[in-house]
Amino acid sequence: MKRYSAQIALIVALAVSLGISLVSNSIDAYYLDIALTVGINIILAVSLNLVNGHTGQFSLGHAAFMAVGAYGASIFTLEASSKVIPMLGGPGAFATGIAFLIALIIGGICAAICGWLVGMPSLRLKGDYLAIVTLGFNEIVRVILQNTKGDGMFGGPLGLKGIPPHTTFFWTFALATICIYVVGSMVNSTYGRGFLAVRDDEVAAGSMGINTVRYKVTAFVTGSFFAGLAGGLYAHLKTTISPEGFNFMKSFDIVVIVILGGMGSTAGVVLAAILLTVLNEFLRDFEEYRMIVFSLLLIVMMIVRPQGLLPSLPFLNRKKKSA
């Protein structure tokens, strides 16, 4: 049994989210919205953590991939799903669900392709240079979307509206679980420790036979793919999306979750995604002081817990196992 614990955890989590999903109609719409936002933020943060935390690259453009995914998935849903659903056997819940999944995956793939296009040339840049290039890419995506025709496929500055609210508890948490599983499994193997090696010392990693470029690109593309999925979920949750919503500040928000959670620590990042999303709701009562309180909390957190909520200590985990 123990040998398959990861797979079992995965299946259990999927089942639970399906179960909750069945009763989600009775959940208060607002609370459901928060829960789904939590799930989407988990996907965003865990996938960014693969790039920034585990592989030690520094991307400030995650929102761009989210945008690509959101637009890709929404355009599919708006333009094509009416044709696809009959092919899948009519307008039942099942066919709609599959069409939605296809939309999400299309969004993810679009984002992954963008990730590859951006990653290939730019991943040889180091640290802050990579950060600014990804941030720049983020802004370029936004500007391009913003300058599209208002009545065209992308909807110009107003973006897309009337996207059906397909995002359910099941889809969100199933994908969040898969994201956690994939990132966790990738990193937690002999092959995957290459990501960590690249982070710690690229020169040494190369000299140990690790193809550093491939690792970096793999991390980047995987991260982008999941960001794209999250974007698709987001679009089908909010039902409208606009370019401005995916500006670099959105990327910052995701980076904040990652660092607050603890770079390279999946559990920490998940926790941070939950806490920050919920905190955001709590702080509403502070009204115009809300962002002031939030920024102070951020500063204090960094001073009090610089290593993040749950820092990653891979060598400690190991110790427990071998003991």
Binding site: D28, A29, Y30, Y31, D33, I34, T37, V143, Q146, N147, G150, G156, P157, L158, G159, K161, G162, P165, Y234, K238, T239, T240, I241, S242, E244, G245, F246, E281, R284, E287, E288, R290, M291
Partner: protein, 355 residues
């Protein structure tokens, strides 16, 4: 925020902070004033009105969440807001699905009210205003106009689109189309290019924040032709910042501060004594959106969704601050536009253009 037997809870979503806070705060001030007035006058249906305002930080995604919060947590009977069309579009399907009537004070994009029969607005829509300004320009004999659009604002893009359509179709020539993004401060490049086209006027469809600077820089570059614009220009800071450069420019608006009708003067006076500044269009629209809602509640004698919806839809010739408002079949306000001009540092009324 408990639901009390003796109050009617109304929700409002506004950008009180963030980069469009200047619009959200104005419309909120107007809305709040209307609520205070009605409560002072004894409320509605024997109950006080309780306004629950949620800030969406000018951020995408937030408006939808807070709309859900207001509907499911605060159990609001009606929803007011948002100024920005993008965010109103987030709220509209939620209000529609919940059967809670929503009135947007200032979202001018035609798509907003397409969300369903529970979604209304009290402002005019982009096609109308774009057309009005085109008519006005043509009427002045300006055949060559250059356009400067804020591509970050769907509002500006919309105005430009409809201005362009009408103007070109009616014998005008567009000498140049330039754009910028809100937040930009330097427009010299665009203006230099525009200057080369030698236009009779420049249609600047964006918001006052940038337009004031555009005017200043246009004059620096020796461009003397007037600038034209829409209700997005309406703010006292237009003249404060633009100063002399704004002289002789025209814009369309819902109302004029200078309008001597007692209702408007009273509104202006009250607002000014409370907020230390003259009300701008957003404030007036926020005020009217609440007033129209109250009027409908009174007529419906109920706050139940369908009844209230029908009562709002039946609004005809309501004398608001922003004009005589009637809601059409598409739940959009039809009302005349006034054209204002800046003269000796004051905004003065020139003419009214009916729909």
């Amino acid at each position: 925020k408990k639901s009390d037997e003796n109050v009617i809870v109304i929700g409002e979503v506004a950008a009180l902070t963030g980069n469009t806070a200047t619009f959200g705060q104005s419309s909120h001030n107007g809305t709040q004033m209307a609520v205070d007035e009605i409560n002072a006058a004894g409320g509605l249906l024997g109950k006080q009105i309780q306004l629950v305002t949620e800030d969406d930080q000018s951020k995408q995604g937030e408006a939808g969440t807070v709309a859900k919060k207001l509907i499911s947590r605060s159990k609001i009977k009606a929803l007011l807001g948002e100024v920005a069309s993008g965010r109103s579009l987030e709220m509209a399907p939620i209000a529609q699905a919940a059967g809670v009537p929503m009135i947007s004070p200032a979202s001018t994009n035609p798509k907003v009210t397409e969300a369903g029969d529970y979604v209304f607005r009290v402002c005019f829509i982009d096609p109308f205003q774009g057309t009005v300004m085109s008519k006005f320009a043509l009427g002045k004999g300006w055949k060559k106009v250059a356009i400067l659009t804020d591509t970050k604002q769907d509002y500006s893009v919309g105005l430009t689109e409809f201005f362009n359509k009408h103007f070109s179709a009616n014998g005008g020539t567009i000498t140049g189309e330039q754009s910028y993004s809100s937040g930009d401060k330097d427009f010299k490049a665009q203006l230099t290019a525009i200057k080369a086209g030698n236009p009779d006027a420049i249609f600047a469809s964006g918001y006052y924040n940038e337009v004031a600077l555009i005017a200043v820089q246009a004059r620096e570059l020796g461009i003397t032709v007037p600038l034209l614009g829409g209700d997005g220009w309406d703010s006292s800071s237009l003249v404060e910042v633009g100063g002399k450069a704004m002289e002789g420019c025209y814009y369309s608006n819902h109302f004029s501060n200078e309008d001597q009708s007692p209702a408007i003067q009273e509104f202006v006076k009250k607002y000014e004594s409370k907020h230390g500044a003259k009300p701008d269009a957003m404030a007036a629209l926020g005020y009217d959106s609440a007033k129209i809602l109250f009027d409908a509640i009174k007529r419906a004698n109920s706050v139940e969704g369908p009844a209230l919806r029908d009562a709002i839809a039946a609004t005809k010739g309501y004398a608001g601050i922003t004009g005589n408002i009637s809601l059409d079949a598409n739940r959009n306000a039809t009302k005349p536009a006034v054209i204002l001009t800046i003269k000796d540092g004051k905004v003065v009324y020139t003419e009214t253009i009916a729909p």
